[in-house]
Amino acid sequence: MTSPLRRIGLRVIALGYLIVILVAPLALVFYRTFEDGIGPAWDALSTPETVNAFKLTLIITAIAVPLNTIFGIACGLAIVRRRFRGKGVVNALVDLPLALSPVVVGLSLFLLYGLDGWFGWLGDHGIQILFSLPAMVIATIFVSLPFVAREVVPTLREIGDEQEQAARTLGANSRQTFWRITLPAIRWAVIYGVVLTTARCLGEYGAVAVVSGRLQGETETATLRVEERYESFDLAGAYAISIVLALIAVLVLVAMTAIKPKEEAA
């Protein structure tokens, strides 16, 4: 039996941990940003380089998230519902981006699309991959690949395939079964996976840093911009950009929570 004292003690430890690890650094960033009022923060955010950096981050996210969502759902369905050779390999490969350091991902892309790489010939045909948007999108897709699949797989296992079988006996073909039964049943997992993927895309640094070339105002994403501002001793600018990045992530989280299916609360 847990005594009230022990329960309270546990809460204090849990809360204290969260405060030290999560809340305190974020609060400090907030404080530093608006230390001298909103003026300096606004100035830092409205430079063309920073605006461009945010634009770039959002474009990359807008491409990577839908692609990884579709891939994640398809991959989850294949892993759980189908029997095929090499399923174990696919299952393990999906996790690979979690295990690899993003810097390694960036370097491998560098080798692949560099002048001597397998796809180096693309450059000869005027298709620029490295140091431009395509490489940054590919790097971001790579590092944010597992999240939707990892959320969808356990949910698909848990719901089983009886509902899908029932739909089939009631006359639904596979397309109708997917859209009307499977997808609604796993939507909360998909939504959660999308949130994680989005957060990962917004925050990606290492892989993108390697393949982007970090050209200010051109191939500099918001996270790279934070680093660049920091190195240039513009702490206010770095903090302001960080705050906006954090706000976007929070906004995504809130939006997703708002559309949480109601009947599952019952």
Partner: protein
């Protein structure tokens, strides 16, 4: 609307689920597939539905070869043991699912769903979600959903297996009445012989991937084709080398030439029925089933020496 399964075999790896099984389900009948777990009864049902493809054999539904047809083209309604309710849809939407897939006019769907909800007594639950229903209500919803598309045959896989005893008894009774009303050819799987006897007019007893015997409840009970059927469709006891029904053992207080001696070891009162457990001189045990009146008249007591006489009928050697 009859179902004819011929020479159906199905393996799962090394396990032989069905071994050259043939079965005929006449139009309008209510047939039970009865057997222990692993006997192949659910697999046979799923093969009929098209949810499982047989390795060999063919399925003919309403005179049409359905072996190669996917489930959605077979005109079957299927009810699962664990309901398979569409959790994200209301009861109404669950029942309407098949009709919406068939793109029936809205008015017709509303009308038909209303009638079906009435039939399964869920009128006032139409706007609830499955999570807000009891097990029995969920299974009735699943039945209404299966019946909505007017299937040629209705297949139920252990439909009452997940419910408690009282609800199960209620639903059995209800299924029987529903069948009299709707008259759709129905096959249901069960491992409960009481359920099969009570509900079905034809029972196929299955064991080890094969059918042991097909017949009416009375036929199976009184003329079992094998020891397995005899022991599965009712109580049995062994007297010497023969198996018999315990209510065919007569207990005598006085010695008789055709009645061996035995001692009463235990008397179990189950209400109307009384089980008398006996041990013979050679150590063999057997038991007799009496009514409580008979037990009173004989004034039986534990430790008493009595004489048991098997009536010659209904013996399986």
């Amino acid at each position: 609307m009859s179902i004819i399964a011929t020479g159906i075999s199905k393996r799962f790896g090394d396990f032989v689920a069905l071994d050259n099984v043939s079965l005929e389900v006449p139009t309008g009948s209510l047939t039970a597939l009865l057997g222990p777990s692993g006997s192949g009864k659910s697999t046979l049902l799923r093969v009929i539905a098209g949810l499982e493809a047989p390795d060999t054999g063919e399925i003919v539904i309403s005179g049409e070869d359905a072996t190669a047809l996917p489930p959605q083209q077979r005109g079957v309604g299927f009810v699962f043991q664990h309901y398979a309710a569409f959790k994200h849809m209301t009861v109404r939407d669950n029942v309407a699912f098949g009709l919406k897939i068939r793109k029936r006019p809205k008015a017709e769907i509303t009308d038909r769903v209303d009638r079906l909800l009435g039939l399964v007594q869920l009128q006032q639950f139409g706007h609830r979600y499955p999570a807000q229903l009891s097990g029995g209500q969920r299974q009735r919803m699943a039945l209404a959903r299966a019946l909505a598309v007017e299937p040629e045959v209705l297949l139920l896989d252990e439909p009452f297996g997940a419910l408690d005893a009282r609800v199960r008894a209620e639903l059995r009774e209800w299924l029987r009445r529903l069948h009299e009303e709707v008259h759709v050819t129905t096959v249901f799987v069960t491992h409960d012989q009481d359920e099969a006897m009570e509900v079905a007019d034809q029972i196929a007893v299955m064991n080890n991937g094969g059918i042991e015997q097909v017949g009416g409840p009375r036929e199976l009970y009184e003329e079992p084709a094998s020891e397995f059927v005899m022991s599965f469709v009712g109580p049995t006891t062994r007297v010497g080398e023969t198996w018999m029904r315990p209510h065919d053992l007569e207990i005598l207080l006085a010695p008789s030439p055709d009645a061996p001696e035995a001692m009463i070891e235990r008397i179990v009162h189950l209400g109307f029925e009384v089980r008398v457990e006996l041990v013979q001189a050679d150590g063999e045990t057997l038991w007799a089933q009496l009514t409580s009146d008979q037990c009173w008249e004989l004034e039986l007591a534990v430790g008493q020496i009595v004489y048991v006489r098997p009536s010659a009928e209904r013996v399986f050697a």
